[in-house]
Amino acid sequence: MSDSSQQSLSPMQAAWRRFCRHRINLIAFWFLIALVAVCLIGPSLSPYAQDAQDLELKATNISPQHLLGTDTLGRDMLTRVLKGGQVSLAVGLLATFVAACIGVTYGLISGLAGGRIDAAMMRLVDILYAFPFINFVILLMVVFGRHFWLIFVAIGAVEWLTMARVVRGQVLALKNLEFVTAAKASGAGFWHIVLKHLLPNVIGPVIIYASLTVPGVMLLEATLSFLGLGIQPPNASWGVLLGDGSQVMQTYPWLLVYPGLFFSSTLLALNILGDGLRDAFDPKSAAQE
């Protein structure tokens, strides 16, 4: 408090400074940046196509030609792991974005409407909570067949629930605060209040919760692909590679181990990042300083 330079920091900057204070957060952050870059650039630098087979070579371990070896059809594993990484990360980010959009809209409406509408909307959320994700996916697949886009629908449809609760809680807390009343008194319209006053205050918790949702979503995608209900071969995702690898792990264990290492370290980094962001933005940890 005595330090005047501390007071001039915006809450955002202060939170960022708290985030950077832990070295492990920064390691996770740069690891993810590097991973995304390698997954995006790597496959185009690779001399192999992800589905180019070399049936005479079959499964080999690490060699100078194939840095992560080849799978049972002689396909270059490094290319497949990086291509699969593109798909897994894209699904994780896109489905989280879909979920965040639905959740924020639903939570805003529910919180603003209040009363009976709010109660009914939250009961619906409670009901959907009791409906396991896998049920939803399988029913959708029975009705529509196995399609790639169903992954987004199913994951987006399940993961928005907590987001909606978070946003609704924020809106309920915010909408009766003085600055909103002041804006109303000075003649601000409904949309002006929502867009200029409520949304900016809701966005922080939404980003934090979204960063914690991404690893969960990637896990769901991998589970579906592992079970043969998600991304279909010859396209790869980390879930597909894990499924292929687990079938031949007795003879070629590295086909499971290498994609597994990529997947687990990514989940670990995402979890550390999410926890770090949550702690940095938590008012409790701000008060401790």
């Binding site: 396991p132 399988i138 009705v143 687990s264």
Partner: protein, 306 residues
């Protein structure tokens, strides 16, 4: 307390009815009907068949009929597995999945709560950091990686168990260990957080002040209250165990309910998919009710008020 439990019971009932309604609505989205495949039937035969299946009635009567059938546990025949009722399939698959799930839950609690308490009693020491790192690693190792690794180590290398299949009672252990380790990691993190918070509360200070021993403070006073978040987590965990058990059933090739559920998606077997969905939803609602009862019993705020 009775009122609290009754309201929870009716909420659960509403959830099950909602699930039946949602699945009913989805089944009407399916192109064609159950009798469209029989092309050469006469119009009278089709009409008779429709009347027999209740398809000539308006949709709300069909929905009512469906709910009545589920209430009397009278489930239809599977489209794909001809001649086998959905109830029959559930009865054959569920004992396997249930045994794996319950054993996994026991392992998760047996490992997670002691590990979390161990870490919470030594805050910010090396042991604390190490056990929390182990817990984080556990969260980041999904069952489709841990399962094959366990099968390889315990099944193929050490030959303690059959690597796959469902022959001996001991075959439940490797799948249950896979799921149990993963959930124990989350339970350990929850236990640590909530025990540390509880230990800083005033009633714990009072207990210390009146001279209670450290063991009695931790185990009699604090741990009981610290278990509430863990108990709350068991509801979502039950849903997660269902999904997870589908993965381990596929890894260890167990003839469980999950395998039939996946088959229903691949064969587009609507009756089977709906039957298992409703069964899973009922199971989760029942489990949540059990958690509510335990919670009411452990938490004086609920026990005395509501």
């Amino acid at each position: 307390m009775i009122r609290f439990l009754l309201s929870r019971f009716f909420q659960g009932l509403v959830v099950i009815l909602a699930v039946i309604t949602i699945t009913f609505a989805l089944s009407r989205l399916l192109p064609g009907g159950p009798i469209q495949s029989e092309k050469n039937s006469s119009p009278e035969a089709i009409a008779a068949q429709r009347a027999y299946l209740g398809l000539d009635k308006p949709w709300y009567a069909q929905l009512g009929l469906q709910i009545a059938h589920y209430a009397m546990l009278d489930l239809p025949e599977s489209f794909h597995f001809k001649g086998r009722g959905v109830d029959e399939i559930i009865a054959s698959g569920f004992p396997v999945s249930g045994a794996v799930g319950l054993t996994a839950l026991a392992i998760a609690l047996g490992l997670g709560v002691p590990l979390g308490a161990f870490a919470a009693l030594r805050p910010n020491t090396l042991e604390d950091r190490a056990s929390m790192l182990a817990a984080t690693l556990g969260i980041c190792t999904p069952s489709m990686i841990l399962g094959p690794v366990i099968a390889m180590l315990l099944g193929l290398k050490l030959r303690w168990f059959n690597a796959s299949g469902w022959f001996d009672p001991s075959d439940v252990l490797m799948p249950a260990l896979t799921l149990g380790i993963i959930y124990s990691a989350q339970i350990a993190r929850l236990t640590r957080g909530s025990l540390r918070e509880t230990l800083s509360q005033e009633f714990v200070r009072t207990a210390r002040a009146k001279g209670a021993s450290e063991t009695s403070v931790v185990f009699l006073h604090a741990l009981k209250l610290a278990c509430l978040p863990v108990l709350n987590f068991l509801g979502p965990a039950a849903a997660g165990l269902l999904t997870g058990s589908i993965v381990v059933e596929s890894v260890f090739q167990l003839p469980g309910l999950g395998q039939f559920f996946i088959a229903s998606a691949i064969n587009r077997d609507m009756n089977l998919a709906i039957g298992i969905s409703v069964f899973y939803a009922t199971l989760i609602v029942g489990f949540n009710l059990l958690v509510d009862i335990l919670q009411a019993w452990l938490n004086p705020r609920i026990r005395l008020h509501a």
